[in-house]
Every structure is written in structure tokens, then in C-alpha cells.
């Protein structure tokens, strides 16, 4: 008794203990098998320790045993929502190493596919963000529109998510004859549906209250932690690889890099919404101008990269994705490293959540748009 009294006298209030909660590996809001060791005081988050590796599949090790065209299929499995961008990164890296120039047709189709994948990914992010905040209806609105994109993918690539469409030297197949018409139909359709997203969620008072000023990630921190993609751009960090190191058909199109300097959850939300409009713009500029030509250049049966180190950066839906290949001249790489955006983004979480509530932790994590296989690889 006297001990308790002492504590009360010392702190001038009722003593409360810190406690730790394991969020994950099975938890509805970690969207996969991420484990967060959260230290709490009441509802207040004091510390967040991410523990990853529950879905580590050793993709980098596997790559050392297989040939370059085969690596493509593994990259689908990392960030499954940006599967096409990941494919493209490897394809571009190998093409650069071999100094192969792909036809313009390939570049255009790759860029259109990139943007479609980005749209699909942002749509899914939007659904899940609503769900994490407790607005379950958004989930079905987002999925409704995403189906259209996946159908287009299915028709052209034969797969809905793990597309494996870009290969070194070009594309797996030519586009489906319906492709252009369907993409144009989709753009027309989605231009009417995108304002619905704003109506349903963006203008909501509760959403504004829940996100404004929450999860501040300063400009400096964004660079220090290497937070890229929409999350980084919402902190004013101009990190769009499409702008700074353009690849494929990005040099040919006009688009804006969406930057926001408010640094909070709402900014990250709005950057993604605006990026969807930009993606639509990019596709619109390209879809009617796909040049005629081959969909792939003839490559050797066995690809052997020259000795050396090759790096390729692309912009996926959640940030900068990099492929680093160390080659010793054989048909399989000596070392492959994937720089995944989720990995760097995840570790900024602790910095952003300190002092906020549990509910904010969920919202902040959701705006970082983490894909766990992307982190664990």
C-alpha cells in the first residue's frame, strides 16, 4: 500500500504501466503477415517496432540460381499490386546491360500497363484505407472499379495480378485487339467514378478529423528514411522516378508530379487520389498513339549479361523500386538486390506514430500502403 502511495505522491497522479501489444502477424489491419510490437500507455502509442520476415521467401537467393527471363516471374510475387512495374524494372535492367533498344511500341505499352497497374493499386489502397478507418463501404466501390483493370490485364496478359508481361527484350505477347478500346472505355468510365471517391470519403468530416495533422513525416525525415512514392511526395520530397530518371515512354508524356507539403495522413491520402487523375492523363496521351511495330526484339536463347553491375530504378505504386544486378558473365546473376519501397517506408512508421493513438497507428500504416511480401521479399 505504502509503495503505491509513494508512486502516487511522486508522479502526482495515478501510476499507469506501459504495456506491449503484438499487432500481427495475424491482425486485420496489417494486411498480411507483418508483426508490430507496439508499446502503449493506455491508448497512446509510445513505440512501434516492426518485426518482418514472416513471409520472407528468399527471392534474392533464388534469383542467383535462375536465368534472367525467369527472374521476371519472381518479381511478380514481391509487390503483387505493382507486378508490372517490377517486371519492367528487371526487363529494363537486362536490356540496359545488353544495350538492347526496344521498339517504341513496347515502351508505350509498358507505360500504359504501368499506369493501369498504378491505378489498380491506388484503387485497392483507397478501399483498404476506408476499411482501416471503419468505413467499410469504400471497399466495394474501389474493388468495383479495379475489376475493370484486372479484366483488361486478363485479356492481354492472361493473368489478373501476377502478369509477368514485360520480359527482357519486349513483351510476352502483343496486346489483345480489344485492348485500346477497353482501356478507352475504362478511362471514360473511371473519370465518372473517381469523383465518387471524393464524395464518399474525401469530404467526410470524420475522415478529415481523423487524418489532418496526424502522422507528421517531415521533409527531412522523408529523405532520411528514404520514404518514397506518394508517401514521400506528401512530405514534399520530390522523388518521382518517372520525372527524374524517366524510362520507357515517360519522356514522351506530359504529367505533373503531385507534391504536397502538409506531411500528414490527409496529404498522403490526397496525393494518391490526385495521382489517379494523373495516371488517367498519362494513359490518355498514349493510348491512341501506340506505334505499329514488333512487340519484342529477338533476343538470344540464353541471356548472358556482361560482367559488371547494373542498376535500374522504376516508380511503382508505392515508391521507388530498384533492381541491382551484379553479373559475372554467366547466364544467371551473381547477386540480385531488390530495393523495395515498402522496406524503407515501413521503418519510418515508428517516427510517425509516436504520441498518437492506436487508431492513428492504423490510419498511418494504411497511408504508407505497405505490401508485406514487398518488404520481406
Amino acid at each position: 500500500m505504502s509503495e503505491i502511495r509513494e508512486v502516487i505522491i511522486k508522479t502526482d497522479k495515478l501510476a499507469t504501466d506501459k504495456y506491449q501489444v503484438n499487432m500481427g502477424p495475424q491482425h486485420p489491419s496489417t494486411h498480411g503477415v507483418l508483426r508490430l510490437l507496439v508499446t502503449l500507455e493506455g491508448e497512446k502509442v509510445l513505440n512501434v517496432q516492426p518485426h518482418s520476415g514472416y513471409i520472407h521467401s528468399g527471392i534474392e537467393k533464388m534469383c542467383e540460381a535462375i536465368s534472367y527471363p525467369q527472374i521476371i516471374h519472381l518479381t511478380d510475387r514481391m509487390d503483387y499490386l505493382s507486378a508490372h512495374m517490377n517486371n519492367e524494372a528487371v526487363a529494363l535492367c537486362v536490356e540496359n546491360a545488353l544495350q538492347v533498344e526496344v521498339p517504341d511500341r513496347v515502351k508505350y505499352i509498358r507505360t500504359i500497363m504501368d499506369e493501369l497497374a498504378r491505378l489498380a493499386s491506388h484503387q485497392l489502397w483507397w478501399c483498404v484505407f476506408g476499411m482501416d478507418l471503419g468505413a467499410l463501404t469504400t471497399f466495394f466501390y474501389g474493388l468495383r472499379d479495379r475489376e475493370h483493370i484486372l479484366d483488361i490485364f486478363e485479356e492481354t496478359c492472361g493473368a489478373r495480378m501476377t502478369v509477368s508481361y514485360s520480359t527482357p527484350g519486349g513483351l510476352m505477347f502483343d496486346i489483345h485487339p480489344n485492348f485500346q478500346k477497353r482501356v478507352k472505355d475504362f478511362i471514360k468510365y473511371f473519370r465518372t467514378k473517381l469523383p465518387e471517391y471524393d464524395k464518399l470519403l474525401s469530404g467526410n468530416v470524420i475522415l478529415r478529423e481523423r487524418t489532418e495533422g496526424i502522422g507528421h513525416l517531415s521533409y527531412k525525415d522523408a529523405i532520411d528514411f528514404g520514404v518514397t512514392g506518394p508517401s514521400g511526395r506528401a512530405s514534399g520530397f520530390s522523388c518521382d522516378v518517372r520525372k527524374h530518371n524517366p524510362y520507357s515512354a515517360y519522356p514522351f508524356v506530359k504529367f505533373n508530379e503531385i507534391l504536397d507539403h502538409r506531411c500528414d495522413t490527409l496529404a498522403r491520402y490526397e496525393v494518391r487520389i490526385l495521382e489517379m487523375y494523373e495516371s488517367l492523363n498519362i494513359i490518355e496521351q498514349l493510348i491512341d498513339n501506340i506505334p505499329e511495330g514488333d512487340y519484342a526484339v529477338k533476343m538470344k536463347g540464353v541471356l548472358k549479361l556482361p560482367e559488371g553491375e547494373f542498376y535500374q530504378r522504376v516508380e511503382t505504386a508505392r515508391g521507388e523500386f530498384g533492381v541491382f544486378i551484379v553479373s559475372d558473365g554467366k547466364k544467371n546473376p551473381y547477386r540480385v538486390k531488390f530495393r523495395s519501397p515498402g522496406f524503407s517506408n515501413l521503418f519510418a512508421l515508428n517516427n510517425m506514430t509516436k504520441g498518437h493513438k492506436i487508431a492513428d497507428l492504423v490510419a498511418i500504416m494504411s497511408t504508407l500502403d505497405l505490401i508485406i511480401p514487398d518488404i520481406d521479399r
Partner: protein, 360 residues
Amino acid sequence: MDIYNFTTLTHNIHTGLAQSFAPWLATTIEWVIVGVAYLLFVALFGLFLVYAERKVCAAFQQRLGPMRVGKWGLLQTIADFIKLLMKELIMPRKADWFLYNLAPFIVIIASFLAIAALPFAPGLQSMDFDIGVFYLTAVSSVGVIGILLAGWSSNNKYSLIGAMRSGAQILSYELSVSLSLLTMVVFAGTMQFSAIVEGQRDAWFIFSGHIPAIIAFVVFLIAGTAETNRGPFDLAEAESELVAGFHTEYSGIKFAMFFLAEYINLFIISAVAATVFLGGWMPLHFGNLESFNHVMDFIPPVIWFFGKVLFVIFVIMWFKWTFPRLRVDQILTLEWKYLLPINLVNILLMALVVLTKFHF
């Protein structure tokens, strides 16, 4: 009106029983009949509400909802309920056995206690207290004890956080519920539910009490939604944060009890809103429109009552499927900084309205 009055029916049953049996036996039989009737009603209406929620939510989300079991999926909730009945009851090893098992019963008993005071139709009310409103606000807050016990005894931190949130939330919003009801008590001049309904024969309170009544109604809807732990105030079981909140560790029929209690509470809040603000089982009457009023009288009071209840339930479901969830500090801010002061001012306003007789 009288053809729909249940008083004669209940009276006949009573006299019939009293003639055939000893007085104590007759009373016991009456108790059993009333108990069974309430149990049946609650079970069936609870199942119906679950079905309705799924269909309403499906409509908001551009889907069809349950369609496979029975016509339009009508039997889906029954199938679900049977599944829940047959599920294994799992208890965490270090849970407090007694409190863990007691909690669902407290929650559901509190709901049953509250439902007893509601008038469904003329004569169809089991207890007509003269302090009905007071009794209802008293028993409806018993349920929070069950929720706190469930969270505490489950030996799970998520449950505990959920229970604590629920405790803070329900205790705060109890104030607003009571005060907004009190506003209407000031207007009605009575706490007896049957008298409140009777007072709305000419015009429902939400019309006759005009501005303060409408304010009280809105406040009551918000606070009532918070009391039932439903979205956007479903912090106690916030899925994306606390897995399932206070009932994370419950399975099978014990989970079903929490689930059912949530829907009964939804019904109670809607029924109280319908009774106090929308005239209960009273038909819609407009001052001097004799023929219109007469037509309205032909619709049975039970239908009026359930129509209004279902309307309020629909509005509450509408909230849930549209809004994101609030944060715990925002939910308390909303109550203590906005709803409570509004309510207190509103009571004064209502008192002024009553004193100056500035009402219809």
C-alpha cells in the same frame, strides 16, 4: 382504433387463467407466457435485424447480400445461428472462468430488461411503470458491466482496450441519452411510456415540440448509436484496430449472445426514439384533416410502431455503412464538448417552450 386494442385479449387471457387455476399458478403461467413471448420475439427479431443489416449494407455497397439460403437468402441468418450454436466454445486458458461465462448473460439480460418496458401497441406492454423512462435509462446501462467484464476476464489486451473504450464511451453517452429523453419528459410531463404515447394522439412530439424536440431527437440518435456500440462509434469492437474488441475471445453461442444483444440494443434505441419522438404506435395525425386521420387509423398500431422502429433502424444502419470510425478522444470530445452543452441548453429551451406554451 379499438379493434386493434390488445387490452381485451390480454384481459381475457388473464381472467380465463384466473378462473381455471389457483392465483399463484395463474400468475406463474402468465410469467412463463410473457417470458416465452419475449424470448421468441427477441430471437426472431434479432435474426431478422441481422438479415436486414446484411441486405441494407449490401445495398449501400452495390452488392446483393445473402442470396443462397432460402428465397433471397431469407434463411441465411437462421443457418448462421445454427452454425454458431454448434460451434465449440473456446476459452483462453488464463481467463477468469466465472466472469468470462457471466459476461454474455449480463449483456443480454440488460437488453431483455430494457425491452420489457416498451409499449408495442395499445395493451401490448408487459410493465407499464410510471417511471418508465427512468427505468429504461437505468437498466440500459447495466449492459456495460457485461462488456467490461468480458474485456477484463478474457485475458487479452485487445479485449481489455475494447472494454475500456466501451466503458468510457457508454458512460459518457448515457448522459446525452438521458438528457435528451429528459427534454421530452419535460415536454410530455410524464415518465410513463403509455402516457407519453397517449400524449401524442394529436401530433407526434417531434412535430409538436418543434425545434427543441428535433434537436433532442438528433442528439438522441447520435448518442443512441454510440450507446449501442455501432459504427461510426464502434470503437469497442473496432475491427481494424482491436480485431474484435471485447468479444475477441468469445466463440459459439456466447459470441452469439453478444451479437444478439447488439441488435436488441439497436432495436431498443430505435423503439425508444420511435416511442418518445415519433409517437410510438400512434398513427400519423394532422390537426384538422379528419378524413386523412381516419384513413391512418385503419393501419394497425403494431404496424405503425414497427414501421417507425424500422425507419430509425435504417437511419442508424445508414450511419454505420457510410461514415468512418471516430477516434477515442474525438468520441469523448463530441460528447463532453458538443452534445452535453447542446443538451443542457436544449432542456432550458424546452422548459421555456413548455412554460410559454409555444408549441402545437
